[in-house]
């Protein structure tokens, strides 16, 4: 089966974070493959192992987003496509989904895999938009994914458990971390990734124009901070006593 995984390079969640003067996230610092996307790649690789086929990674970003693709290739994906174009800089979710869809549609994938939401933007909107534009059903919040013949079954996480959701392929699935730990790239995988193909396509080649953004940013302010509270070093018993006093003051005991 042909599996496409949409991935994103994000500011390294473990690295220093910052904002530019214009309130855009600092992109020049440490970057990493979105940790949520590693789960998507893992699901795709497991399906390839059980079903056979090919895993293609698709990303949109500046030239250096190649590093994120390369990491996925090191894990075992077969090839990468990078959509890179200044006209797409600062794209909102819909423009991102349009560009990804334009690159993915010609691949005639059986399954498109996404994370649930990115670490930096966190809107969670690209997967449903991408499914809609590609004309696919979306199986969202999938914590377990199985493919059997032409159909896919997922455990879709809900507030109090899960739903079992089925669809015929082709389909789009957005996965959570419950699918299982992503594999590490082996040394062999890292070496092999160097010779794997990453093709770069432009917005013009995909016939994508920037369109009109869904919103205009009018301002960014500091979030309302909670007033500083009291801090106490526990000496073995005073911590618990102070907490009990606070719980009484809050009238919950």
């Amino acid at each position: 089966m042909k599996i496409v995984v949409a991935i994103k390079q994000v500011p390294d969640p473990n690295g220093p974070q910052g904002l530019e003067a214009d309130n855009r996230l600092t992109r020049s610092r440490e970057v990493a493959l979105d940790p949520g996307d590693e789960y998507g790649i893992e699901v795709a690789l497991r399906l390839k192992e059980s079903q056979g086929g090919e895993v293609v990674l698709v990303s949109m970003g500046p030239e250096r987003a190649r590093d994120a693709l390369r990491k996925g290739l090191s894990m075992g994906a077969d090839k990468g496509i990078l959509i890179s174009d200044t006209v797409l800089e600062g794209a909102d979710a819909l423009l991102t989904a349009r560009a990804l869809a334009a690159a993915i549609a010609p691949l005639a994938a059986d399954l498109v895999v996404c994370g649930t939401e990115s670490y930096d933007g966190s809107t969670g909107m690209v997967p449903p938009m991408l499914a809609e534009i590609l004309g696919l059903p979306q199986l969202s919040a999938a914590g377990q994914v199985e493919v059997s013949g032409d159909s896919i079954t997922v455990h879709r996480q809900t507030g109090d458990g899960h739903q079992v959701v089925e669809a015929a392929l082709p389909a789009l699935v957005s996965v959570t971390a419950a699918v299982g730990e992503p594999r590490y790239a082996s040394l062999k995988g890292i070496m092999a990734a160097r010779s794997k193909e990453i093709s770069v396509v432009t917005g013009a080649a995909l016939n994508i124009d920037a369109g009109r953004r869904a919103e205009v940013v009018e301002g960014v302010e500091d979030a309302e901070a909670r007033p500083p509270g009291e801090t106490l070093e526990d000496d073995g018993s005073n911590g618990a006593e102070r907490i009990l006093t606070a719980l009484r003051a809050c009238k919950v005991i």
């Binding site: 969670g124 109090d160 907490i243 606070a246 919950v252």
Partner: protein, 320 residues
């Protein structure tokens, strides 16, 4: 006056409560109509009406409960094109997100996601959105008509306003092409004594607890307080506790009277889901942990020792 719609999600036959919060907020800004789809929608009318919906469009059609997103998107898209609302509000819940995302792509209008505040006046629709992990708040003005906006649960308190309601039962003819992602079974995993979102006290744990086995200490304390247990993303991802306990950006938003964070460092991913709590108690070995900076009471110490002491203290007070 702005024409505002609230997408009132019906989940397992019951109205998802965020719709009532959205109605309460939206009725200040214009005439508000609610759209409720699926079995249970008719029963949701009194609550929707009481919270300010002047009209409720509903359908008891079973496909809305049996299939994900697509039949809902079909109905919403047709209604929007026919009736041109200025603003459509959705709760930031997983079912509503799927519908809103598809709808925005189908209408080609995009949307504003993850909102925590809303203002509507003659100059447009403005949405406050947490930014940079919640340290900042951005104000977005919608640039498209209709504006589609997703608002995080618990961003507003729901209150009743009363008033008369028009009912409109929608004649829905589901398109077979949209009946694709089918829900074939439902499994309830958590036998929560108290629902996390409704608990007056939440006792939440993170990696600092050292291991899954230590969560029982939190369960004991939560039980003594009549509260619920929550968790950070790190420990949920690590498989210590079920996803249903996760508090934060990707999890639940809670606003209890008291939130006790034990061994949680306080990454923005987590705090965005709990900082509306009235009183925050944090226990952490690291005196520099970010959670101590937002706590009303921060204890620098070992949660594994302190939590059982507190539990015992409550039991002693009750004489049990």
């Amino acid at each position: 006056m702005a024409k505002i719609w609230v997408y009132a999600e019906i989940k397992d036959g019951v109205l998802e409560g965020t719709a009532l919060e959205l109605l309460t907020c939206a009725r200040k800004f214009g005439g508000v109509e609610a759209i409720a789809l699926g079995p249970g929608s008719r029963a949701s009318v009194p609550a929707l009406s009481a919270h300010g919906a002047s009209r409720v469009l509903f359908s008891e059609e079973a496909v809305f409960a049996d299939y994900l997103a697509e039949p809902h998107t079909d109905v919403m898209a047709a209604l929007v094109l026919e009736r041109s609302p200025d603003l459509v509000l959705f709760g930031f819940t997983s079912d509503s997100r799927d519908v809103a995302g598809r709808l925005a792509a189908r209408l080609g209008c995009g949307l504003i996601s993850n909102g925590i505040g809303l203002e509507v006046d003659a100059s447009g629709v403005r949405v406050q959105v947490p930014y940079f992990g919640g340290a900042k708040v951005a104000t977005y003005r919608a640039n498209q008509q209709p504006a589609l906006v997703l608002i995080r649960p618990r961003s507003f308190a729901a209150s009743e306003s009363g008033g008369a309601v028009d009912l409109e039962e929608l004649a829905v003819e589901p398109s077979p092409a949209s009946l694709r992602a089918r829900i074939v079974d439902r499994k309830i995993e958590a036998s929560e004594r108290v629902k996390l979102e409704d608990a007056k006290v939440v006792v939440a744990g993170g990696r600092g607890l050292g291991g899954a086995e230590n969560f029982s200490l939190l369960e004991d304390l939560a039980e003594a307080l009549g509260g619920a247990v929550g968790a950070s993303r790190a420990v949920v991802d690590a498989g210590w506790v079920p996803y249903s306990t996760q508090v934060g950006q990707t999890g639940k938003t809670v606003t209890p009277e008291v939130y006790i964070a034990a061994g949680i460092s306080g990454a923005m991913q987590h705090t965005v889901g709990m900082k509306g709590s009235k009183f925050v108690i944090a226990i952490n070995r690291d005196k520099d942990a970010p959670i101590l900076k937002i706590a009303d009471l921060g204890i620098v110490g070992d949660a594994l020792r302190i939590v059982p002491q507190v539990t015992q203290g409550i039991r002693d007070q009750r004489g049990t």
